[in-house]
Homo-oligomer: 317 residues x 2
Amino acid sequence: LKVNEFDLIDLFTSYFRTRPPPRGPGDDAAYVPDLRNLCVTTDVIVENVHFERRFFSAEEIGHKALAVNLSDLAAMGAKPAWFLVSLCLPERTLESEIRGMALGMSRLARSLRIELVGGNVSKAGELSISICAAGTARRPLTRSGGRPGDVLYLSGTMGDARLGLKLLRASGGPRLNEPVRRQKRPHPRVRLGLIAARFARAAIDISDGFAQDLAHLCKASRLGAIVNVDRLPLSRGVRATFGAGAVDWALAGGEDYELLIAVAPSRATAFERECARVGEKITRVGQLTAARKILFQGAGGKSHTMPAGYDHFRPFD
Amino acid sequence: LKVNEFDLIDLFTSYFRTRPPPRGPGDDAAYVPDLRNLCVTTDVIVENVHFERRFFSAEEIGHKALAVNLSDLAAMGAKPAWFLVSLCLPERTLESEIRGMALGMSRLARSLRIELVGGNVSKAGELSISICAAGTARRPLTRSGGRPGDVLYLSGTMGDARLGLKLLRASGGPRLNEPVRRQKRPHPRVRLGLIAARFARAAIDISDGFAQDLAHLCKASRLGAIVNVDRLPLSRGVRATFGAGAVDWALAGGEDYELLIAVAPSRATAFERECARVGEKITRVGQLTAARKILFQGAGGKSHTMPAGYDHFRPFD
């Protein structure tokens, strides 16, 4: 395969008559034609791509399968409502593993009061779980709604999930600390997405890495951005592990299910206040620009080259 | 894995708070709470389970992935409207294969004027395509709506897809005749489903085999059935190949994306007339009964034991 993940999606969808996003492919979730307010997404996690069984318990697999879909809905500012599950199971799967996956997934579903409405199960050579999740949005928060001057916010911290994976691989087995928890039990920012739907113009989750997903948002909005590198929210773990290389690590990270949100300057204070009120951590990291390039500015104004984000079809450490 | 496909689904869903079907798991598609008229389903096809690449072209894989989902919507009497695609691709996948899958899928989508609204692509060890498809139904045609005395109809013929697979395996490569076409290019009975929605009380597709799916319909309706074995619509190919064993073969077949439909006696003539008018082939094969057992009656009234249907988790020739 010579094309990357996003060219591949473009190639595939070019065969179909589609509407522009979010009514057609190209945003975190689809805003469904003729069903006002419904956002739908699908995402899959595959053994040895998104998780390894030596590191993940069955509960963590079930949790992650649903969480990655809910993150897409959060990025659309949608309130998740229901989902369907496609379980692909190797014949060697144990009943206890099925119970574990169901338990991990159902805990997350219950905490958000969302309903399992259907699904299917199939035999397969490798374990994978594909989920289709849907919810309603007052108005869809797209990647394309940004305007020049919009303030860019990032939730939580970045680079942690990637660090968690590195730590798991280094130790060769399960252990639990904050980066590992971020890798194994991502927390979809559903509540923050609902706030963003009230205040923001555009949003995306940074599941493919901050740099790549910022580029997606900029491309969809036909804009560029200036990022204040020194402001990027890096956890102590990421800083301590990588020192001077921490920013590059974090920019290229993947699987941080945080939200990157663009807010009009006039709404920025109100947005920050509402996030503070409910305890959603956000950090102002830059702004959108009319110039269609992305600048990473560090201390003293020195610019920074942009690393590519996560792409399943390129090798990833 | 010690449990069969249906016990496994029950086990998994028992961890969730769900509504009874069709609002929760248990019918061909889910009838979504709070979105009147929307039916949603998900189904996956997996390499070496639902297709082998030595027999299936990329176009046929793309076609089948969508067709199996549309069959579920047809069984609900829903008019398909949109779908999402999860592509899981091995790294060795060729661009030409992606084009082929897109082409096969898009041809079927265009023929029914349905929209691709989103999806995702992931690396995987084996090729699989998971689709979530949705459509609207005037009223959902469930498995559970049958009443004693309802006339049972089956569309098309049965056992052909299973014969097609047998022929492909025997010849070791691609060939095209009617059973092989039924295996590789199943035709979802969308138009018939829409007619059934106007006339019928219950329906199911026989993707797991006539015997098994009839049992599902009977269980959901809390009824039994009498099947007139001599009336079962078997193709010339199935009769010629299996002779006296043709009925058993066909009853246990899987992947026949035909519809089994229960119609009140008072509506039977009108249903038959409407099917004849538009050229949808249906055959009266029996009736539902209050006694909760399934009788297969042959010539002279001799009864027939019931073979189990297709179960992914049991060996299948």
